[in-house]
C-alpha cells in the first residue's frame, strides 16, 4: 500500500508513456503498415518521458508558485494581524488564479529608450534557470528527473545564470532604479553564492559524490523512522544547514536580503520597468527559485525524500520544501532589511569564514572514528565544540565590525 | 562525423578572434575579455584532445582545462581590479594611454 502511493506518480507516468507508445504503434501501423521499430519505440518512449517530466515540473511548480504566493500573503497577514486574501475560493485559496488573470490582461509597457532586445529577453532568461534547477533534484524514491554525477555543481551553475538575467533586466530598462537594483542584486548574489556553495561542500565531502541522488541515498536509513542519518543532525550539518538557509535567502533576494528590490529605496529594483505578464514571470522566477533552493536544502541536509514511512516520499520532499518556504516567509514577516555594507560584511566576514571552518570541522568529523556509539558521541561532541568555537570566534572577532556604522568607501 | 580537426580548427579560429580583439581594441576591458576568449579556445582544444586522445582515462585534458579555467578566473579578477585602479588613476581605460612603462 505504501509502495503504491510512493510510486503513484511513476506508475502514472509509465502508464502514459505506454499509452503514447501504443498510440504511436497504431499511427505507424495506420501510415506505414508496420509497428514502430525497436529504436523508434525507445525514442518515442524517451521523448515522452522528457515531455512528461517537463510538464509535471512546470505544472506542479507553477501550482506550487501559486500556493506559495497565497501562503505568503496569508502568513504575512497573520503576522501582521490581518486576514489576508479570503475572497476567492475557500480561504482565498484561488487568489493566485485571479492575480494571474489580472497580470495576463495588463498592458505590456516597454520604456522608449530601453534596450529593447535585452528588455524583452530578460524575463525569459530569468525564469529558465529557476525551472532548470529542478532538473537536478530527486523528488522522491526513483523520481530523479536527471541522474547526473555533477548534479550539485550543475545546480549552482544553472543558478548562476540568473544573475546575468537580473542584470539584463536592470540594464535593459534604462532606469536608474532598475540599474541600481540590478547591480545590487548581482553583487549580493555573487557574494552569497560563495557561502552557499561552501555550505554544500561538507555534504559533498561526506557523501563523496556530487550526485543529489547519492546524497539523498546516503541519508537514508532502513528503519521505519528513517531520519537518523539526516545530515542536519550532525553539528557540521546543522551549521551547514543554517549557513545554507541564510545564503539561500540572500540568493533568492528574499527579505531581509531584499535590497535589490527594496520598495522604499529603489521602488522595485530591477523589475521596476516591467509590467503585466513580464512582471509575473519575474515574480514566478523568484518564487520558483526560492522553492528550488529549498529543494536543494532538503536534499542536502534534511534527508531529501526520506522520512518516516507514513507518507509517500515525494510528499516528504514537498512537505520539507514547504517548511523551508514557510520559514523564509516567517523571516520576511519578522526581520527588517539590512544595509548594503552590512549585507556585504556579513557575507564576507561572517559567513565565509564560518563556512570555511565548517568544512574543516567536517574533515575532523570524517576522520574521527565512529564505529561504536561512544565513539560517535565523542565525534559529535568534538565537532559540536568546534562549530561552537568557530561561531564564537567568528561572531566575536571576525565580524565584530559588521554591525558598525556605515563607512562610505566610494561616495565621499 | 566530427573529427578532431574540426575542434582544433574551431579552437584556432576562436583563438584568432580573441587575438584580434586583444591587439586591436583600445578598451582595456575588452582586451581582457578577448584574452578570456583565447583561454576558452585553449581549453576547448585541450578537452578535444582529451576526448580524441589515446589515453582518455588519464583525464589530462580535463584537468588542464580546469586549471585553465581557474587561472583564467584569477587573471580576470586581478586584471579587472587593475583596470579599476587604472581608471581611477588615469580617468581612462584606454590601453594606449598607459605608457609609463616605456623603457
Amino acid at each position: 500500500m505504501y509502495n503504491f502511493f510512493d510510486q503513484l506518480i511513476l506508475t502514472l507516468g509509465a502508464w502514459v508513456v505506454g499509452l503514447v507508445v501504443a498510440c504511436g504503434n497504431g499511427v505507424s501501423k495506420f501510415c506505414c503498415g508496420q509497428p514502430l521499430s525497436e529504436a523508434a519505440a525507445h525514442n518515442v518512449a524517451a521523448g515522452t518521458e522528457i515531455v512528461l517530466i517537463c510538464v509535471t515540473i512546470y505544472g506542479v511548480f507553477a501550482l506550487c508558485f501559486g500556493l506559495a504566493t497565497w501562503l505568503e500573503r496569508k502568513m504575512l497577514a497573520r503576522i501582521q494581524n490581518r486576514y489576508g486574501p479570503n475572497r476567492v475560493g475557500p480561504f482565498g485559496l484561488f487568489q493566485f488564479v485571479a492575480d494571474g488573470v489580472k497580470m495576463l490582461t495588463k498592458e505590456d509597457i516597454v520604456p522608449a529608450r530601453a534596450d529593447k532586445l535585452v528588455h524583452f529577453l530578460a524575463p525569459a532568461v530569468v525564469l529558465a534557470p529557476a525551472l532548470l534547477m529542478f532538473a537536478f533534484l530527486p523528488f522522491g524514491r526513483n523520481m530523479a528527473p536527471t541522474n547526473l554525477d555533477t548534479a550539485v555543481i550543475a545546480f549552482f551553475a544553472v543558478g548562476a545564470g540568473s544573475e546575468m538575467a537580473l542584470f539584463m533586466a536592470g540594464w535593459g530598462s534604462r532606469n536608474k532604479y532598475s540599474i541600481l537594483g540590478a547591480m545590487r542584486a548581482v553583487a549580493q548574489m555573487i557574494s552569497y553564492e560563495i557561502p552557499l556553495v561552501l555550505a554544500a561542500v561538507p555534504v559533498v565531502m561526506v557523501v563523496g559524490s556530487l550526485s543529489t541522488s547519492q546524497i539523498v541515498a546516503a541519508q537514508g536509513a532502513d528503519g521505519f523512522l528513517d531520519m537518523s542519518r539526516w545530515f542536519v543532525w550532525t553539528p557540521w550539518g546543522f551549521a551547514g544547514f543554517i549557513l545554507f538557509l541564510v545564503a539561500a535567502t540572500a540568493e533568492s533576494n528574499r527579505c531581509p536580503f531584499d535590497l535589490p528590490e527594496g520598495e522604499s529605496e529603489l521602488v522595485a529594483g530591477f523589475h521596476v520597468e516591467y509590467s503585466g505578464f513580464k512582471f509575473a514571470l519575474f515574480f514566478m522566477a523568484e518564487y520558483i527559485g526560492m522553492m528550488a533552493m529549498a529543494g536543494l536544502g532538503v536534499t542536502l541536509f534534511l534527508g531529501g525524500w526520506h522520512g518516516p514511512k507514513l507518507l509517500p516520499s515525494w510528499m516528504w520532499f514537498m512537505g520539507k520544501g514547504f517548511l523551508i518556504v514557510c520559514w523564509l516567509i516567517w523571516l520576511r514577516g519578522t526581520l527588517p532589511r539590512l544595509r548594503v555594507d552590512q549585507l556585504m560584511a556579513f557575507a564576507w566576514k561572517a559567513m565565509l569564514p564560518f563556512a570555511l571552518f565548517n568544512i574543516f570541522t567536517t574533515a575532523v568529523w570524517f576522520h574521527l572514528p565512529k564505529a561504536t556509539l561512544l565513539q560517535s558521541a565523542v565525534a559529535w561532541l568534538v565537532t559540536a565544540a568546534l562549530v561552537a568555537a568557530a561561531y564564537w570566534v567568528v561572531s566575536r572577532f571576525v565580524c565584530r565590525r559588521a554591525g558598525a556604522l556605515r563607512v562610505y568607501h566610494y561616495a565621499s | 562525423m566530427t573529427t578532431l580537426a574540426h575542434f582544433q580548427l574551431l579552437a584556432s579560429m576562436l583563438f584568432a578572434v580573441g587575438l584580434f580583439g586583444a591587439v586591436t581594441r583600445r578598451n582595456a576591458i575588452v582586451v581582457l575579455l578577448s584574452i578570456e576568449i583565447m583561454f576558452n579556445a585553449a581549453n576547448l582544444s585541450l578537452v578535444a584532445f582529451w576526448r580524441y586522445g589515446p589515453h582518455p582515462e588519464q583525464l589530462s585534458g580535463v584537468v588542464f582545462a580546469i586549471f585553465g579555467i581557474t587561472i583564467a578566473a584569477a587573471e580576470a579578477a586581478v586584471g579587472l581590479a587593475l583596470v579599476i585602479v587604472i581608471y581611477r588613476y588615469y580617468k581612462s581605460i584606454e590601453v594606449d594611454k598607459m605608457r609609463s612603462l616605456k623603457g
Binding site: 539584463m168 | 576562436l14 576591458i29 581549453n43 582529451w50 580524441y52 582545462a65 585602479v85
Partner: protein, 167 residues
Amino acid sequence: MDVTFIILSLITVVGAIWAVTLRNLIHGVLSLVLFFFGVAGFFFYLNADFVGWVQILVYVGAVAILAIFAIMLTHNLTAKDEPGFFSLRWLTGMAIAAAVGAVLWFAIKNNAAMLQTAPAGVTSSVADIGRKMMTDWVVPFEVVSLLLTAAMIGAIVIAMEQISHRK
C-alpha cells in the same frame, strides 16, 4: 560533422566575434556570455560534463559579472573613440590574427592524427577527476589554489589601495 556541432560552432564563433567587435560594451559582454555558453555546450558535447558546469559557474557566474562591474565602475558603457573597421589599427590586428590563425590552420591540416574520429565510451566522472587531481596533479593543484588565493587577495588589495590613500 553533425548538427549539434554546427549549431554550437555558430553560437560560439558569432558570440566571440560580437564580443570583440561590438562597440556597446554591455552587448559585448552579453555576447561573451553567449560564447561562454557555447563553449560549455562543446564541453558537454565532448562528455566533459564537469568542465562544462565549471565553465558556466566560473565564466557566466563570475567572470562576466566581474566584467560588468568593471564596466559600470569605469563609466564606460560604450567605447566611443574606437577607430573604424578599416582603420590601420583594425587591419593590422586582423592581419596578425589571420597570420596566427593561418599558422594553426597549417599545423592542423598537416597532421594526419587530426583526422581521427571520436572513440566511444570516453567519460569523465567527477570522482575520477578528483582522484587525478589529488594524486598525479596534486602539486599543480596546490599551486593553482595558492595562485588563486594570491590573485584574490591581490585583487582586493589593488582595488582597496586607493581608498586607504584617499583617507
